[in-house]
Amino acid sequence: MKFLAINLILTVIWGTISASFTPANLLLGFAVGALSLWLIRRELKPVTYPIRPLRLVLLLALFIKELAVSATKVAILVTRKKMALKPGIFAYPLTARSDFEITLLANLITLTPGTLSVDVSGDRKTLYVHALDCADPGALRQDIARGFERRIREAFER
């Protein structure tokens, strides 16, 4: 019963993907959703963090903006004849605490061209990030802290 909401969302997704909202098809979608939830029942935990749709949209907008900016930068970089590279790894002190937030942050950093998260320390306080242009690690740290990490914490912190 706890996962009825998830099941309903899965049903709606089923409906949109198969492009028909007939009752029979929705019922089938509901059954498939229930089956898939049942298959992963041991991993399921009720959602414990609050969901803030507006903040999520802001995070998405920031991601798209960062994507456009850094994709252009890297594109210019690799198409130049002489590549002026100063690659390096820097340690980023994490303020995000939960595993979910850290995973999301690492994923977003990796998806943005030019930066790549490579490792997280055992105590989950430091993220190691490889940057193509690591001439000024301080500025990069500030970019992440003020950009992605702030937005993630706004969206998901309890």
Partner: protein, 123 residues
Amino acid sequence: MSHLTDLPAWAAIAVCGLLLMGAAMTLIGSIGLLRLPTFYDRLHAPTITTSGGTILVCFASMLCFAVLQSRWIFHEVLIIVFITVTTPVTLMLLGQASLYRHRFEKPQDVPLKQGPHAEKDRE
């Protein structure tokens, strides 16, 4: 059996633009993969291809078939979601493996791991 000629001009122009931009990003990513010198650097190039290229091409496909069949189409959103969720994991794993080796062979070049598991990892 191509109905692509039925596409109105405004949609055709938008689809072409998206496709060309996506293709250009994919090409740039491939060039980057080819030209960048070290392993870490090379890991950066595919992210342009996956994030930029895939998303743009998927948008082009969505727009094209949504206009042709005059209904909303969401299949490509699934492609985008799966690609954006799985690609970074692969890259991070590769990067982590490489960093592990790097720390082992030339620990002076990279920031060492701190925290409770650090000693165990360094052995």
